[in-house]
């Protein structure tokens, strides 16, 4: 039995000797690629939050300038703006949590931190994101009675239809993302179980 194992080890060593001493990229190019990746990740996080923040401020400015008179309309505005504000807070929390995962930790620790992150996303991101979409839809519909007094019916119907299509597409995209993350979560659980059991 030990001879078989020694053969396997010998094959492994031989295969390793046949390997190139370096990758296609030189170390300096790897460093450049690493720096580029880091900047891209940071930029993506900040850009996402900034775009949502700017949209939030624009909405507040717009609805502050063009005041709606009906109570129903104002409740609708609060729902829409509040929903977006909630989304921004969750996005920031998600980014903070993702930074707790360290690739240089022991595997069990890294997997545990990743699990914690994915569980957060499962608990908060998925359900709350659907809630926020619902807030947008309900909030927008609440504007309809007052808007109908100022906009022709066919334009209002067109707006509602466009909004409905956008909402359906958004829900499908979010749902797909949530399902993929659940599959990732299952895989991480499996890895952790393989290590700790």
């Amino acid at each position: 039995m030990n001879n078989e194992w020694d053969d396997i080890k010998s094959q492994w060593s031989k295969a390793k000797e046949e390997m190139p001493a370096q990758t296609a990229l030189k170390p300096s190019e790897l460093i450049a690629a690493a720096e580029k990746r880091k900047k891209k990740t940071v930029a993506a996080h900040y850009a996402n939050t900034l775009i949502m923040g700017a949209t939030w401020l624009m909405l507040i400015g717009y609805f502050g300038y063009y005041t709606f008179r009906d109570l129903l309309s104002n409740i609708g505005i609060v729902l829409m703006v509040g929903g977006l504000g909630l989304r921004i807070v969750i996005e920031i929390l998600s980014t903070i949590r993702s930074r707790k995962i360290h690739v240089s930790d022991a595997a069990v620790q890294s997997l545990e931190d990743t699990l914690s992150f994915y569980r957060f996303r499962k608990r908060i991101h998925g359900p709350v994101t659907f809630l926020i979409v619902a807030l947008y839809i309900v909030g927008f519909l609440m504007l309809n009675p007052e808007l109908s007094r100022h906009i022709k019916t066919q334009w209002l119907v067109a707006m509602d239809l466009a909004g409905t299509i956008a909402a359906v597409v958004l829900i499908r995209v979010i749902g797909k993302g949530v399902r993929q993350e659940l599959r990732d979560l299952e895989k991480i659980v499996e890895f952790k179980r393989s290590l700790t059991e």
Binding site: M1, Q22, P27
Partner: protein, 165 residues
């Protein structure tokens, strides 16, 4: 990042590239291109993690940890890849062209579960059990049980690969 960091990175790369590539090749079932991409990914992570290195572990253990975690993250991304149970894998059709010894080896390693794959490759690298346990964050007793299982499976798979090849 300073010149000293670049110098450390160069040194780590020179010392450990082949070891990392070897693990990545085994993990990616012998696929050279995927292994090369994965090894590059490991060293990108090494560079980004370098400022956080405090010397609690040796550089070697640290690199192993990054390699293991990078490999596991890649598998998470390859959602459509499924691994067959060993019994089904052993009934797979013969390859069209004769395979080299290393292809047999990588083929056999590739049929192990992801965590077993990583463990057995570190054993093949002659990494001490204590160091493997530290890399993975498990006890040495737990590790020994896993190594025993993985070795037994690998021998069975190697016999099958050699019969088919």
């Amino acid at each position: 990042m300073s010149t000293a960091d670049r110098s450390v990175f160069q040194s780590l790369y020179d010392q450990y590239y082949r070891m990392v590539l070897s693990l990545c090749r085994g993990y990616m079932k012998g696929d050279r291109e995927l292994a090369d991409d994965l090894a590059q990914e490991v060293f990108i992570n090494v560079w980004n993690a370098l400022p956080g290195f405090r010397g609690e572990a040796s550089h070697k253990t640290w690199i192993y940890r990054i390699t293991v975690n990078t490999c596991l993250m890649v598998i998470r991304k390859n959602r459509n890849q499924t691994r067959m149970p060993i019994e089904v894998a052993m009934q797979a059709p013969e390859p069209e062209s004769p395979q080299t010894e290393s292809e047999h080896l990588y083929g056999a390693i590739g049929k192990l579960e992801e965590v077993e794959r990583l463990i057995i490759m570190m054993v093949l690298e002659d990494v001490e059990y204590e160091e493997i346990a530290r890399t993975l964050g498990i006890t040495e007793n737990n590790l020994r049980v896993k190594i025993h299982r993985a070795r037994t499976k690998l021998k069975t798979l190697m016999e099958h690969e050699q019969r088919m090849g």
